[in-house]
Subunit: 445 residues, 2 copies
């Protein structure tokens, strides 16, 4: 078969993308910091396969969600699909491996898939990463507190600038629903409506809720309640006065108070936290605390993290009761924030030193130096062809490699190398011993 | 819908597996070291999606290979599938992003999928990781040399004990074919036959080659040639004498000699390298050097790495000529070696310190200590319930957490904590300042 026959349009499957080195370098740095935070809080890594049996995947995301599961063409039918999120696989793992010691604090950083109409410009892909941390097996709000402290730790470590963690409680929303005289069955509509405030505005939400049977006076009351503002102590006080008759509501307030006290004890600055009664999170499965966070300077980028307590989902595969609380860290959005803040150098290379090849006769000398630099842990590239030095320097320039070493017969005769610092355009001759200590000094982080 | 209705058999899709924390901790340590080696050699990370258009994937692996591609049920037909390896996606990327600066030295650590009959006991899965490093755009054997130096570096860093990198050259095999008077068309059969020596033995290979038209005298000659043994200088000398009439063969010998000389210059110990004429590698696409490596103490585990030069594959999507050389690092097999050598602690936790909760009144004190330990970078867990200390200690024991901190009213009154070292069963009271420096001392790596 001739080469011409094989020519194929080289393109990505729609809604997927490559992470080229400039993006991967940034992502790896981020993931390393996030992983470090997870482990400092005692979380352990887990990975589950991309492929799952369809009966494991379906029935958890609602009819609309099930349609978004990619199914395999397998033995003439569909028995397997690609995972939709990291939560259902966690539920499967907890039931299947029932010797897992509780509390199980796991983190998981893997891609998930959605058979969706992709909107690449808006950042909606068919294949994207999720980065989750969850604590399974703990009812106590101490676990919720730790998840919020973890989020604060991660966003601080990533140096994304000022951020705000907004916190609410499904039980407070229940209390509000009760105080409005609405039946329990209307709670999901209420939450979904509130969740859309950011997107469609107060009039849009009123219209939607109106269609679902919410009367005007009820909605006026609702939006008045949600507009409670102030420090968390003030909000708690006002809420307590309003929700006096709702046992559930008061319980939610108590839990949040407890959490805020504990976070203060843990030295989390209170200005990074806010009670936000408008926060509802659309998903049905939350049962307690809910929280999201966003950049203060770049709020339009949207939620950088999101999570809460969901006490009934993880145990649903088996017979055990497995309360759980956790968060997702939005890798892609955080990368956007860092890029827009100019905090991330756009680099195609991680190399610190390029060792050039002066001519054919000097190849072995250059290899020796490269080996020695690598032995000392320097990220070192050897140029692979004895072409003109100008071309070799131009490669270092394109790749933003800060140091270039030249090793000609003159240098070798003196037992030295020429080191050029491209960041300042200076060059000097050094002997090999001094070279290492000079570079250690200049390249230490 | 009642909970009973949702009960589902929690199980993995056949041929896939979960990586539970004990395995993930080991894998992450390995990957971190491998990534470090890649970057010290100037390689940069790349990731490509799981999903690719079928025309991109098919036609590269032969008919048998194409059958092993998982296809999606998508809009009533199959337009997309799951990637089969990391090489074809690299070829697509090189054509699609034609502004990539050459040489392109990329590493890629991602899962691939095969719609195969899985043999889980033999370690054959439908979903498994590949870990590849390749240099694209360099014809010079300097690149081959660097890949072999990289393999040596990685296996040394991973501390897998003694290992052997076996090296051969497709051009030497061509020379052998020529010297046996066989036509070029028989070369692939020859390579595939040699490649099976390990699996089916010399008689099995003779039978297969016989069926393909190889005569007995030819095969006797072949096996005599392949049995050349000795140091690489001896083997080179004998080969040169035998392949005098084959220009291709002599070129292969020269290239390998050059590579061995350079590796010696780079301080790679010669006893870790071996010319192995029996090494052929079954894949059709190799055009130059080929190499595999294995543990000397545990040879039955098989190849730990494998690779070579393939100058025609990467450019085949477009019109550019893109020579390439690279290697796969076999993560799973290396993990098996490390486990069998007892070099890997089987741990379910990375936590260094468990902070217990003495009773309800002491929760905030314990949180303070946990926060302070985390601020100093210690991997710290806080117990989430003020249950009996015995139960909290038993958790630390199960999770193999080395240090436990107890903080009761007595300790608090004195401004101290009790630190118990579970590895030696000793406990002492320390004040917070001393605690940090003591732990830094004990837990420094």
């Amino acid at each position: 078969m001739g080469k011409g026959n094989m020519k194929i349009d080289a393109r990505n499957f729609k809604g997927t993308r490559d992470y080229l080195p400039n993006e991967m370098i940034l992502r790896n740095q981020m993931i390393e910091k996030i992983r470090r935070s997870f482990e400092v809080f005692g979380f352990v890594p887990l990975e589950t396969p991309a492929l799952e049996y369809l009966d494991v995947l379906t029935g958890k995301y609602g009819e609309e969600g099930d349609k978004l599961i990619y199914r395999l063409n397998y033995k003439g039918g569909s028995v397997a699909g690609m995972k939709y999120d990291l939560t259902v696989p966690l539920a499967r793992v907890m039931t299947q491996h029932n010797d897992i010691v509780l509390p199980f604090k796991r983190y998981q950083i893997q891609p998930v898939w959605r058979a969706d109409r992709p909107q690449v410009r808006q950042g909606r892909f068919r294949e994207f990463y999720q980065c989750d941390a969850d604590i399974v097996g703990v009812k106590s709000v101490l676990a919720d507190t730790e998840i919020i402290a973890l989020i604060h730790n991660i966003l601080s470590q990533l140096e994304i600038g000022q951020f705000l963690i907004r916190i609410n409680h499904r039980k407070i929303l229940s209390g509000i629903r009760e105080s409005l005289g609405l039946k329990e069955a209307m709670e999901i509509d209420l939450c979904r409506g509130i969740d859309k405030l950011d997107k469609i505005g107060i009039d849009g939400v009123k219209e939607e809720l109106g269609r679902l049977g919410f009367t005007d006076p009820v909605m006026d009351n609702l939006f008045q309640l949600l507009s409670l503002e102030g420090s968390h102590t003030e909000v708690f006080k006002q809420l307590k006065d309003t929700l006096t008759k709702s046992e559930t509501g008061l319980q939610g307030i108590d839990e949040l108070k407890n959490i805020f006290e504990s976070l203060e004890i843990m030295n989390i600055p209170m200005e990074a936290l806010k009670i936000d009664l408008h926060l509802a999170r659309g998903l049905d499965y939350y049962t307690g605390t809910i929280y999201e966070s966003s950049s203060i300077d770049l709020p339009h980028i949207g939620s950088l993290t999101g999570g809460g307590r969901y006490d009934r989902l993880i145990g649903s595969f088996g017979s055990k009761d497995l309360p759980a609380v956790g968060t997702t860290i939005g890798l892609d959005r955080i990368a956007t924030v860092l890029t827009q803040l100019g905090k991330m150098a756009d680099k195609n290379s991680v190399t610190q030193i390029l060792v050039t090849i002066f001519d054919e006769t000097m190849i072995h000398q250059s290899m020796k130096i490269a080996s020695s630099l690598r032995k000392h842990g320097f990220k070192t590239e050897l140029y692979y062809e004895p072409v003109k030095l100008k071309k070799q320097f131009s490669y270092a320039d394109k790749q933003k490699i800060p140091f270039v070493i030249v090793l000609g017969p003159d240098e070798t005769a003196k037992g030295q190398v020429t080191l050029k610092d491209l960041t300042v355009g200076k060059q000097q001759q050094l002997d090999s011993g001094t070279l290492i200590s000079y570079l250690e000094d200049r390249l230490s982080e």
